[in-house]
């Protein structure tokens, strides 16, 4: 049995095909979806910064928001980089070990050590603990600069705290285990949903403008 093949080709149909391919091109569509996810990430980090920023800290999540890059689109896949040191550590968790010295210096919450390093202080005194040690300001110095807020002095007035003792600014530990925190990023479903909506809107608009 011989088949009958009808070949239909004209310049107009070729042009129509080109328009269809342009409208359905994967790359701009993935770009639109990726950019929507970028916006979601910026909003998410803005909220986290409001919730988690500590006085004296570096506005970590605000910097993460500024570090969200434009999506790179390759083969219909949009990839978004967030170039912020420490973000992956928070997301996945894991052990951080001291490499450059014996201990990691962990600033004590609520003190002026937040956002600083031990070398920023000139009168720190080392003391040993079970896990490693601590660095404290001596009472006389602390009185002058007024940094007295240790756990046991909570609720006391500054003057009372001054009289009561020294203030610990850093805990020194050989390593810390950080738990994974999936809330550092929006939920996968949420990212997929905004990407889908943006791509859907993009496609609808493209098809409408191609009429």
């Amino acid at each position: 049995m011989s088949a009958l093949v009808v070949r239909v080709q004209s310049e107009a149909l070729t042009a129509l095909g080109a328009r269809a391919r342009a409208a359905l091109a994967e790359e701009p569509m993935a770009d639109a979806g990726g950019r929507a996810v970028k916006l979601l990430l910026v909003d998410h980090f803005t909220e986290l910064n409001e919730e988690r920023h500590r006085a004296g800290g570096e506005n970590f999540y605000a910097d993460a928001a500024r570090s969200v890059q434009n999506p790179e689109t390759v083969d219909g896949t949009a990839m978004i980089a967030i170039d912020k040191i420490g973000l992956a550590q928070r997301l996945f968790g894991g052990t951080i070990r001291a490499i450059n010295g014996k201990y990691l210096a962990i600033p004590v919450e609520g003190t002026d050590a937040v956002g600083k390093v031990p070398a920023d202080f000139t009168n720190l005194q080392f003391f040993k603990t079970k896990r490693g040690g601590g660095l404290k300001l001596q009472r006389a110095v602390a009185s002058v600069v007024g940094h007295l807020r240790t756990g046991k002095h909570k609720g006391k007035s500054r003057n009372e705290a001054d009289i009561l003792g020294d203030v610990v600014l850093f805990w020194l530990v050989p390593s810390v285990d950080q738990a994974a925190d999936p809330t550092v990023l929006p939920a996968d479903e949420e990212m997929q949903s905004v990407a889908y909506d943006a791509m859907d809107q993009f496609l609808t608009r493209r098809l409408a403008s191609n009429n």
Binding site: A32, K38, D43, T46, Q69, N70, A81
Partner: protein, 271 residues
């Protein structure tokens, strides 16, 4: 899928790398006299004349933007606290001492406030410029034709950005609602590349402005911009349904246009 691999913010790093070091012996008032085009190409810190210090700042900020991670090595040296310490250590090594009356103030090159301001401002300017460059693509402008100016970082003393936005908008030829707007819930939105972006960071209007067309617009502002979708633009009346998106802008002509605008403004004020 979430991958962990180095992917530097190339536009931000390039923006920082292309800045010439500009030893700056001028006061803030003198700086205003510089053409914005020059300033956009210059990394500066008011009254810092030591080129080595400026180079150190630039290197450190480059490292913060693009930390080169070696397996088994820590990234500690790129954390803001350690970068600040490195700057202070350099100042100690060259026996820097502030004038007694300036010690601890923003004029003291070794003060926490000064070091932090220079680091943050220049890093954020590089990020802002990088973000601006990444936005100048037809596809992005089509799907997200506008930007919203919003508060990213809280401040104890907040400047009145709503009033600034209104004042900047009044300098354009467009009445509110045309190209730029303030929504009933006080969102500050304008089409990308609209003239208002030439004014919101202009020292012609605001003494603390950085003379740039991207955030942070002013020293220690805490402000940033984010995309606004086409649907939102249509809803707030900045675009009609199906209306063409803003055209991509070229950075050289955008900065030239900005410079010309503030020069013209200066002439008008002087006349």
């Amino acid at each position: 899928m979430i991958a962990v691999e180095p992917m530097p913010f190339a536009e931000a790093i390039k923006a920082l790398a292309e800045k010439d070091l500009l030893p700056d012996f001028m006061t803030s008032a003198d700086i205003r006299a510089l053409a914005a085009a020059l300033k956009n190409q210059s990394f500066f810190s008011a009254q810092t004349t030591d080129e080595y210090l400026l180079q150190l700042y630039q290197d450190k900020i480059g490292g913060m933007l693009n930390p080169v991670r070696v397996a088994g090595q820590a990234t500690t040296e790129y954390s803001p606290a350690y970068v600040a310490r490195a700057i202070k250590d350099f100042l100690i090594s060259v026996n820097y001492a502030p004038a007694p009356e300036d010690a601890g103030t923003i004029k003291d090159l070794s003060s926490d406030a000064r070091v932090s301001l220079v680091l943050q401002t220049n890093k954020q300017l590089a990020q802002g410029q990088g973000n601006w460059l990444q936005s100048q693509r037809a596809g992005v402008l089509d799907s997200f034709p506008a930007d919203e100016l919003f508060r990213l970082e809280d401040r104890v003393k907040k400047r009145d950005w709503l009033a600034r936005w209104r004042l900047a908008g009044e300098q354009t030829d467009d009445p509110i609602g045309t190209g730029w707007t303030i929504t009933p819930d006080e969102r500050l939105i304008a089409l990308k590349n609209h003239d208002i972006w030439n004014w919101i960071g202009s020292s012609d209007l605001f003494d603390d402005a950085l003379d740039v067309i991207w955030p942070p617009f002013a020293f220690n502002s805490g402000m940033w911009v984010k995309d606004v979708s086409r649907a939102d633009c249509e809803e707030v009346g900045l675009l009609d349904k199906g209306e063409a998106a803003p055209e991509p802008a070229n950075i050289v002509s955008a900065i030239e246009s900005f410079s010309n605008k503030i020069s013209k403004f200066a002439e008008e004020v002087a006349a």
